[in-house]
Symmetry: C2
Subunit: 202 residues, 2 copies
């Protein structure tokens, strides 16, 4: 290996000062149909309206580009989430508030992402809804396909979902409106210190 | 495949308006020792000082994270550049001026990156210096190792470098100072329209 870490002159701190807020990752996890994309989208709109620099990474988007070489096997799905964690870490380092909306069913994968991003910049949101509710919503028709045997790896049906043990926030989307959920998100992120100006910029 | 492209509410145009400039990729290519990292670093400093939102992707940095699973074989190097192009495209979509500093020796790989980013947002800079000059500089000691047979895949020694046929800019670093090169870069990028406010933001 011939790798030499270079210390570039424009630091994350300098980028955050320019942006007026910290770079971080808001990591949504939950079943298909739980409401991850809806909440991620609504959160980004609110953050952007407040002048925050955001980006949304979505399983579908990333799958068509960076991860177009990966299949939906267990190994392919693990590598998918590993790369998302790495890209999110780079983008947070760039000073962005990165919002990710992936099922990301396995604790180990989410933990790896947290470690890559850094604990104080990683905000895990468990979008919690009963399987029956998600299946009734079935926004992409995936549960129907899984029940018909067309999909054989569907999380919640044939493949497990490991609930977060200590998420930074849990949102029960069968009980909360989108607006209520976004309010909780904004409050939670602010408490986590990630919407405030970094100390060195005050 | 069960992919559904989602139209999120915060668009690239909205992010660019917030930033005050377009998102784009400044893609440096050239031999090891030609001056890519030095110029990339100097360019980023100048852009940041002018309030531009930047990020620098470097072979060494990316190799330690996202692409830590790749080796230095021909296939591993191609996949390395493919992923860098995809990440650069995502970051440009996020509104950033992304600066990449990779040898990226093959035309085909650079062309794929250009297509992913989009022609009007991709600015290819050929950092041109004679091999003898690069080898005399040898900032990472790689040429010495290649001549000693420790490295067997060194671009310019055992592996070819395909010069760009129509780069957006060529900088002969054996003749130009860093400051002169950065001035040419800034002028070139501005002419390409990428430092100006996007039309919809005027």
């Amino acid at each position: 290996m011939n790798l030499h870490t270079q210390n570039f002159s424009v630091t994350r701190a300098a980028r955050e000062e320019l942006n007026g807020h910290k770079g971080m990752v808001v990591w949504f996890t939950g079943l298909s149909g739980a409401g991850k994309s809806t909440l991620a989208n609504a959160l980004e709109k609110r953050l952007h309206a407040h002048g925050r620099h955001t980006y949304l990474l979505d399983g579908d988007n990333v799958r068509q580009g960076l991860n177009s070489d990966l299949d939906f096997s267990v190994a392919g799905r693990a590598e998918n989430i590993r790369r998302v964690g790495e890209v999110a870490a780079l983008m947070a380092d760039a000073g962005l508030i990165v919002i990710t909306a992936f099922i990301s069913p396995f604790r180990r994968e989410r933990e790896i992402a947290r470690q890559r991003v850094g604990d104080t910049r990683f905000y895990e949101v468990f979008v919690d809804a009963p399987l029956t509710v998600c299946e009734a919503r079935d926004p992409k028709g995936l549960y129907r396909k899984a029940r018909a045997g067309i999909l054989t790896d569907m999380t919640g049906i044939q493949s497990p979902y490991e609930r977060p043990r200590h998420p930074d926030l849990t949102l029960e989307t069968a009980l909360l409106s989108v607006s209520e959920s976004v309010s909780e998100l904004l409050a939670g992120i602010e408490v986590a210190g990630c919407l405030e100006m970094p100390e060195y910029a005050l």
